[in-house]
C-alpha cells in the first residue's frame, strides 16, 4: 500500500457518508492497510466518547415537549404578525404593503397623496405611491414625474412626522380574513372578482399558491391647520383647504384582494389584484381643488395645474407621482395600459415591482429572484389580461 486515506475520508466512511463506489474501494483498502484500519479504529473510539458525552444532554429529551403546547404558545405571536411578506425578504413588497408602517410619515404622506396633496416623497416615492390603492376607487391613473428639486423640497418640509396633518389610519370593524384557495377560480369566487393570472413566466412555475384577503375598512382624520402650513411652506397659495376636510374622518373601504404566488427555478412572482379601494371624504370638500393643490405640490405651475385639474375627474383618477430621473422608478407599458416599474437589487437577487390598472381593477406584480431580468417581469405583467 503506497497511499493512506486521510481522517476526513475515514470519518465519512465510518458515518457511511461516502458514495457507494468509493465505499467499496475504501473497504478493500482497509482489508490490506493496517495503518488506515488502526486510524479508523481510533476515530471510531473518539466519536464514541464524544457522542457519549453529548448524549448526556439527552436527559429530558425522553420526555419531548408537546407540539400542541408549543404551537399554542406561538400562536398569539402569529396573530400579531402583519399579514404581508417582510421587507427583509423583498425590498419592494413593503412598498405596496397595505398594512401601514407603525410610524406615520410614509403612511400619512401617502394618504395625502391619494387625496391629491402629497407632502412628502419620504421615505421614497414608492412608499408613498404604494398607499394610493387603498384610498381611491380609481378608474384611471395619471403618472406625474416630480423634479429632483421638488423632491428635495418635499423631503425638507418642516413637518414633524408624529404630528402630521393626518392621524394614523385606524381600522373600523374586524381584521380582514385570510383564506387560502386551491385554485384561481376558487380565489376569484372568494374575492368576488374575476381574478386573472400571468401566462408568461421565466420557466414553468413549480409551485402556485393563492390567498384571498377579505375586505376591511379604515378611517383617518385630517389636521387642516398643519396641512395649510405645509402647503404655505411649499408656496401653494392659490388653493383653499376647507375646514370641512378636517371636520369628519375620511373612510376607506378596501375590497378583497387576491394574492397569487408562482415559484419556479430562481424566481418568485407574486400578483396582487383587486378592485381599487373607495374613499369617502367629508361633505363640503371640493376634490378638484385638492387635486389642483396636489399637482402644484408636485411642482406644476399654478396655471397648468388649474387647466389639467379641470380635465381630470378627480373622483376616479389616481395621481401617481414619481421622482424624475431615477433609474429605479420608471413608467412602462403593460400591454395597452400604462404602469410604473420599481426596481431594486438585494443580495444579488433582482426585485421588480410593477403597478398598473385596468378600469377599477388594480394589479401589482412583483418578480424576484437571481435568474430574472426586467424583460421577464414586464413580460409576466403584460401576459395578465
Amino acid at each position: 500500500m503506497t497511499h493512506h486515506y486521510d481522517d476526513g475520508i475515514l470519518r465519512s466512511y465510518q458515518d457511511e457518508q461516502v458514495p457507494l463506489n468509493q465505499r467499496a474501494e475504501i473497504a478493500a483498502h482497509l482489508e490490506d492497510c493496517d495503518v488506515c484500519q488502526t486510524r479508523l479504529d481510533e476515530l471510531s473510539a473518539l466519536t464514541q466518547v464524544v457522542s457519549g458525552y453529548l448524549s448526556h444532554q439527552q436527559g429530558a429529551l425522553n420526555t419531548q415537549p408537546s407540539v400542541e403546547a408549543a404551537f399554542a404558545r406561538l400562536q398569539p405571536q402569529l396573530v400579531a404578525t402583519p399579514a404581508f411578506p417582510s421587507k427583509r425578504r423583498s425590498t419592494l413588497s413593503g412598498v405596496f404593503a397595505r398594512r401601514r408602517r407603525a410610524t406615520g410619515f410614509g403612511v400619512a404622506a401617502a394618504v395625502l397623496l391619494t387625496l391629491g396633496l402629497v407632502v412628502g416623497l419620504v421615505p421614497g416615492a414608492g412608499a408613498a405611491a404604494a398607499q394610493l390603492l387603498q384610498i381611491f376607487r380609481a378608474q384611471s391613473v395619471i403618472y406625474i414625474s416630480v423634479s429632483p428639486t421638488r423632491v428635495q423640497q418635499l423631503q425638507q418640509l418642516p413637518v414633524d412626522p408624529n404630528t402630521l396633518f393626518l392621524s394614523k389610519p385606524s381600522r373600523i370593524g374586524p381584521a380582514p380574513t385570510q383564506q387560502a384557495a386551491d385554485s384561481l377560480t376558487q380565489a376569484s369566487a372568494l374575492a368576488g372578482i374575476g381574478a386573472e393570472a400571468p401566462t408568461s413566466f421565466p420557466s414553468t412555475p413549480e409551485t402556485t399558491a393563492y390567498m384571498v384577503e377579505g375586505q376591511s375598512a379604515y378611517q383617518l382624520q385630517v389636521n387642516v391647520k398643519t396641512l395649510r402650513e405645509a402647503l404655505a411652506t411649499l408656496g401653494v397659495t392659490d388653493v383653499t383647504i376647507p375646514d370641512a376636510l378636517g371636520a369628519q374622518p375620511i373612510t376607506i373601504q378596501l375590497p378583497p384582494v387576491v394574492r397569487a404566488q408562482y415559484e419556479g427555478k430562481n424566481y418568485t412572482i407574486t400578483l396582487v389584484q383587486g378592485m381599487s379601494p373607495t374613499v369617502t371624504l367629508p361633505d363640503g370638500v371640493n376634490l378638484s381643488d385638492l387635486g389642483r393643490a396636489a399637482l402644484e405640490v408636485y411642482g406644476m405651475p399654478p396655471d397648468e395645474a388649474s387647466a389639467l385639474s379641470r380635465q381630470i375627474d378627480w373622483r376616479s383618477t389616481l395621481v401617481f407621482p414619481f421622482p424624475a430621473g431615477m433609474s429605479t422608478i420608471q413608467q412602462v407599458a403593460v400591454g395597452d395600459a400604462q404602469g410604473i416599474l420599481f426596481r431594486a437589487t438585494k443580495n444579488g437577487a433582482r426585485d421588480y415591482l410593477i403597478y398598473w390598472q385596468h378600469g377599477s381593477h388594480f394589479y401589482i406584480l412583483e418578480a424576484m429572484g437571481s435568474g430574472l431580468g426586467v424583460a421577464d417581469a414586464l413580460s409576466a405583467a403584460s401576459s395578465v389580461r
Binding site: 476526513g8 465519512s12 458515518d15 407540539v67
Partner: protein, 206 residues
C-alpha cells in the same frame, strides 16, 4: 377570469414543504402549522442538545419558527432544505444563547449546585452525575469555535453530511475532516475542564 388564462403549472403535492412554504409566505397559518408540526421536534432536539435546558430550548425553537413565519426562506427543493434552514437559524440562536448563558455563569461550581438542586433525581447519585455531565457538556460546547459545536450537535442528530454542509455553508467534502477536528477539540476541552474543576465523581464515563 377566462379559463384559457389558467396557468399550467407542475404544482408540487399540496403538503410538500415548498407548497406549504409558499402558503406560509402568503400568511396561511394552517400551512405554517403543518410545517411546525413536521419539524418542531427536530429543531427542539438539536437546540436542547446544545443548551440542555428545556426553557431556553423551547424559547429558541419558538423564535426559530416565528422567523420561519415572518421571514420564510426561498427554497428550491423539498425536505432537507427547509430542515437545513431551520437548523441553521436554530443553531445560530442557540449558540448565542449558549454563549450568553456561559458569560452569565461566572463560576461553574455555582452552576453545579443549582443543577443539583433543580434536578429531580430518581437515582440521586446517577442523576447528579448526569446533571454534572450536562453542565460540563454545555461548558465545553461554549468554549469550542461555533462551527465545531454546531457540527457535533448536527452529527449527533444523525444529520447527513450533505445537509450539514448546507447548514454550515461548508464544502461537503470537508465535513469529515472538520468533524474529526471538532471531536478532538471537544475531548481536549473536556479534559481540560475536568482537570480544572475536579468533579467529585472521578472519571466520567459516557
Amino acid at each position: 377570469m377566462r379559463e384559457d388564462q389558467q396557468v399550467q403549472t407542475t404544482s408540487s403535492p399540496s403538503d410538500s414543504d415548498r407548497h406549504l412554504l409558499a402558503r406560509t409566505r402568503l400568511r396561511d397559518a394552517a400551512a405554517f402549522e403543518r410545517l411546525f408540526r413536521r419539524y418542531y421536534h427536530s429543531v427542539y432536539r438539536v437546540v436542547y442538545r446544545m443548551l440542555g435546558d428545556d426553557d431556553t430550548a423551547s424559547d429558541v425553537a419558538q423564535e426559530t419558527f416565528l422567523t420561519l413565519y415572518t421571514h420564510p426562506p426561498q427554497l428550491h427543493t423539498d425536505g432537507e432544505e427547509i430542515r437545513a434552514w431551520l437548523y441553521r437559524v436554530a443553531l445560530n440562536r442557540g449558540y448565542n444563547a449558549l454563549r450568553s448563558k456561559r458569560r452569565a455563569q461566572a463560576r461553574l461550581p455555582a452552576v453545579y449546585e443549582s443543577v443539583y438542586a433543580a434536578e429531580e433525581a430518581v437515582d440521586p447519585e446517577l442523576e447528579a452525575l448526569r446533571a454534572e455531565n450536562r453542565v460540563q457538556v454545555r461548558a465545553v460546547l461554549a468554549t469550542l469555535p461555533e462551527r465545531q459545536a454546531k457540527l457535533l450537535l448536527l452529527r449527533q442528530e444523525d444529520v447527513k453530511y450533505t445537509e450539514i454542509a448546507e447548514i454550515l455553508e461548508i464544502a461537503p467534502g470537508s465535513v469529515g475532516t472538520l468533524l474529526v477536528r471538532a471531536e478532538r477539540a471537544f475531548q481536549l476541552a473536556w479534559n481540560q475542564l475536568e482537570s480544572k474543576t475536579s468533579p467529585p465523581k472521578g472519571e466520567l464515563q459516557p
